[in-house]
Chain length 365, copies 2
């Protein structure tokens, strides 16, 4: 059933989105600011479920593409968000009927709210990943043969482009180098799809899930429940590790925030490897032998130890006391085709995909 | 008066274009093949002078963008040439009436012939530079405020993009990184302008000049005239140096063929510095002190010693006996605004612009 997203829901939604963003997808504080302003200006946004969507609807996704390290310093205005939406509309020759989130993340779940508010269009309670991933082609619609292009991109200076590519990896490659040249973050609009395609390929009820997570954390804080325990319960995941951030290596290269972070606990060190999002969590024993605890595509989430506040990869700082949680991703991410696109091997790690509960999925060679 | 470009004129035109290309603009053999095939298939192309052009004509330029070192190994088909033309046409919403050359060069003067043949449109006897330059914004129309964008680009794989940028330098920047990602050469179509704008900004009678140069070289070879002397006469330039190529340093970086070549003569070494095109010619005495003989924007042309055949920067080889000629560029390239765009300083050389005849133009700080 359709429901309404007002300014009061946005804080919870952005916080929950940052949890599912697994370190990426943008800072929830910034994301909430953007969406609140747009809703205050244009009114609440109607969220509709996939079941309510007409087969012939025209759904578009709106997102920010780039390095989160840059996004936090280069905030988009509503006008910038609308630039690629307008360019795609002109290219398609017909107006979209619904806006959707390409991914779940602190900024990339709230920018579509702002776009929907400004366009006066309903927003789908759904997204393309059920989490965040660093590259544009890494959405379930790619696995259903849905084209990312035509894809429009725009920067804050007024430069706009539209790509029509032979596959979604080429959309990523060309848009990424353009984004880097344009200042390491751009607004994008693409993945135009029918209602039938959206219903089949997207992850359902994502926004409700974000609000549930965000409000669950807030309620736990005021109640007697440990917020991190509450997140573990809501995600149906498990806590991997608790400790203090003792080292963060981070570089913004080829358009991504890449790096590693070390969390020191009572029994050793946990290492997090990330590219915008956390990809691998592993522990080392005293002899230095590493054991992988969890990998992409399952969710690796870093939360502040006591408050349960999600910590983005660009927000990791020396001395933070954190807890690391692993949780299941949408099961479709564990197919061989999906793992070829988002498994550890794609990111250059020669380890099998390890699920939140320790089960291993070997990708067929 | 309008005239016709048939297959028989194309060899001379491409050779003459390679002379004016000052080392860049592509290999004339490849350029001639492309244009001859298109004219054989679609019939001769009508060349029209700028004086014949209606004020409300819609002129577009078609070119190859990338590193000439890659272009010689990755030849475009006529279909590829037409891809960005079609994309721009869709974007503009009305069909072009004339095709023009953005620059003069072995390939970039013949690709527009192929495009005009396939489109059944007249080709302007004109171009945007009167020579070749490495970057997209380096055309006289930029100095007249004419926008490079909307600019369409396409590769041989079927990837297409359209850019709308805030200025022509941004068109260059974004198209360049896309071109590098797409394999270091793409076909582009842009600089849509009216007939009135074309008449004001373009260099006139370029194609006739190319044919005159190309046929001049051919006739000199069969007569008793030295072909290089004939080129010097036709360009109203002067011979700077004669010798043997003893060193070539060449790298394809950031989408360009950059490097230096050393020509050893009786009295010392001449050094050529190039970025697709020759930018600076200087001699060193026995003590190693360097004297600049000529710089961009004037033309620095390398010709085979006896045949007068133009040598492109990617064609420079150890052991070639060559003669180096300098000649005047279009006088508009010597304005302060133009020198800021194409003078030695833009390319990182801290020397004043030196004309073919030794006169120096200091760019005001």
């Amino acid at each position: 059933m359709a429901w309404s997203i007002g300014t009061d829901a946005i804080g919870d939604l952005a916080r929950g989105a940052a949890v599912l963003g697994t370190g990426g997808g943008g800072d929830p504080y910034i994301g909430a600011l953007l969406a609140r302003q747009a809703v205050a200006e244009h009114g609440p946004v109607t969220a509709v479920t996939l079941d309510e969507l007409a087969d012939d609807a025209l759904v578009i996704t709106v997102a920010m593409m780039g390095a989160p390290t840059v996004m936090v310093e280069k905030l988009p205005t509503l006008d910038e968000i609308m630039e690629p939406v307008a360019a795609l509309g002109t290219y398609l020759g017909r107006p979209a009927t619904h806006v959707a989130c390409a991914e779940i993340g602190g900024v990339n779940s709230t920018i579509p709210i702002a776009a929907a508010a400004a366009l006066g269009l309903p927003l789908l309670d759904a997204d393309g990943m059920g989490r965040a991933f660093p590259e544009l082609q890494m959405v379930l619609p790619t696995l259903y043969g849905i084209s990312a292009s035509p894809l429009a991109f725009a920067d804050e200076k007024g430069n706009v482009g539209v790509l029509q590519t032979v596959d979604n990896s080429w959309t990523e490659r060309i848009a990424r180098v353009a984004a880097v040249e344009m200042g390491c973050s751009v607004m994008i609009c693409g993945f135009a799809m029918s209602g039938a395609q959206a219903r089949e390929s997207l992850v359902r009820d994502s926004l409700q899930r974000c609000i549930g997570l965000g409000s669950g954390i807030a309620q736990a804080r005021t109640g007697k429940v440990d917020p991190v325990d509450r997140v573990v319960e809501l995600l149906e995941g498990r806590e991997l590790f608790a400790g203090k951030v003792v080292d963060v290596q981070r570089a913004t290269t080829t358009g991504f925030a890449r790096g590693t972070a070390t969390v020191r606990g009572d029994d050793g060190d946990l290492t997090l490897r990330f590219q915008n999002e956390h990809l691998i969590a592993s522990v080392a024993d005293a002899a230095g032998d590493e054991t992988v605890l969890a990998t992409t595509p399952d969710l690796i989430v870093v939360l502040e130890h006591d408050t349960g506040e999600p910590v983005t990869t660009e927000g990791l700082r020396y001395g933070q006391r954190v807890r690391v949680v692993a949780a299941p991703s949408d099961p479709r991410w564990h197919s061989p085709e999906a793992l070829a696109m988002v498994g550890p091997g794609y990111f250059g790690y020669d380890v099998p995909a390890r699920r939140f509960d320790g089960r291993v999925t070997e990708v067929p060679a």
